[in-house]
Symmetry: C2
Subunit: 312 residues, 2 copies
Amino acid sequence: MSIGLPQRETNPELPSRVTIYEVGPRDGLQNEKAVVPAAVKAEFIRRLAAAGLETIETTSFVPPAWVPQLADAREVLADLGDLGRGPRRPVLVPNERGLDDALEAGVGAVAIFGSATETFARKNLNRTVAESLDMFAPVVARAKDAGLWVRAYVSMCFGDPWEGPVPIGQVADVAQRLMDLGADQLSLGDTIGTGTTGHVSRLLDALDARGIGTDQIGVHFHDTYGQALANTMTALRHGVTVVDSSTGGLGGCPYAKSATGNLATEDLVWALDGAGVQTGVDLAALVETSVWMAGHLGRPSPSGVVRALAGG
Amino acid sequence: MSIGLPQRETNPELPSRVTIYEVGPRDGLQNEKAVVPAAVKAEFIRRLAAAGLETIETTSFVPPAWVPQLADAREVLADLGDLGRGPRRPVLVPNERGLDDALEAGVGAVAIFGSATETFARKNLNRTVAESLDMFAPVVARAKDAGLWVRAYVSMCFGDPWEGPVPIGQVADVAQRLMDLGADQLSLGDTIGTGTTGHVSRLLDALDARGIGTDQIGVHFHDTYGQALANTMTALRHGVTVVDSSTGGLGGCPYAKSATGNLATEDLVWALDGAGVQTGVDLAALVETSVWMAGHLGRPSPSGVVRALAGG
């Protein structure tokens, strides 16, 4: 006996509509042990779109040696055709080479992946933070010239497994420099899931003080320490309207062993449906998609909503 | 590589201090399949107290046929001695017979367990809501006469697996009648974990309108749909300062098949430590206790913090 939809009780502190930026096919599958065939990935994205997710990061043009799980980016996009193109189907590109591949595939949006800390920049990009910004500058410039929408991730915004605490001013510096390059949107990443609510408020305030408003910001929380939804709701109360999440709670971070998956899209949709916030998502269709994908991955979804509704 | 404590960034919206009402030994163990020996239960409670938890619901004087997991209440309390007595060691009592047993055992506090819905009252207490209040009246009166502190749980406040939505006015009616009996504190239970943030605010507002302020209220969220911490933080922003949680996320609800465990105390402490809210709890000692108890239960803890810190 389970309840399929939450009791609707409006929360006037929240925006009336939230855009879910679905990262399951990219951030999710990139960090799963099982390598999923390109045709399954394309079908996953089709199902996500059919369930009402309007913005979906589809894949990544990184060297296959770095991320073998997404080595089939071309195939996935070819399979998707027009459904994989346009400004609401970003692909991750680490550098100009990746941008070339993305442009060749005909995408309409790209995302770059910066770091708030030196250690993670070194481990993830083999560069200092400053060097990585130099690398991103022509990527953003050329993408904008080509008419693409550009998102800039900032990872390790709320803590770094090697460095520990990350000063808010340091995060704001990196964020500002990425926006100065010409990015359209920031995504503030709690890559290892250690952030808490006051931290979220303070970082948003610090960015606001630098002229980066909540209309330019998405939030990206991992649920490693069980904090993802509470932090997300805090950001929404501050006026953020873009939230990254992963259907079924897929994914994690291969560079931080302790990290488990992203905030599950289903748990987010439950929270927003209950609070009367529009997302456009059909929760039942999404849960069905997670169950289908769990079959391909050979493990149950960690999402509470998926487990409750699918009896997993 | 994991971070043992969150980065401290004060959240001024929250109370400066929160009382954690630990329900692991009662609500948690009551709903675990494994039956834990009395000596292990007593040791669990001693470890929780040593980790800084000041309020611990120790056990339940219900008929053993109803809850065989807690049939050893006398033994546990005898083992604990003075550590199991006083106003911050409540035991659950369903009726006058349970109160007699509790008084004989020398406890200093009791909790009764009401229902916001007729269906759950029937299934849990074999009575209508009105009949259950009649049953509780002499329990509360006699407990107060004996100088005990009395808590009143209200279950199914945010949804009922058989009835679906539960009107807020109906919950407030039951809550008010329990307080009118003379209870010192209410605990608002999201027994099946379906509640969302706007719902929490509205229920607290409805109780406030009836003169039941946040100083008389504890909140009790189950994490079945991943909403427990977000809902708890909402209640804290409203001024609630008592939160029920279960070390390691033990427990659930045997009457609602879909329900998994309570909010994990560790995940709550992480959220509060990070936000600069005092709890008095030593997180590392608590995680160690959860790992120890997981060994006795034969299953890993579902708590994110426990998994992250203990590498489970």
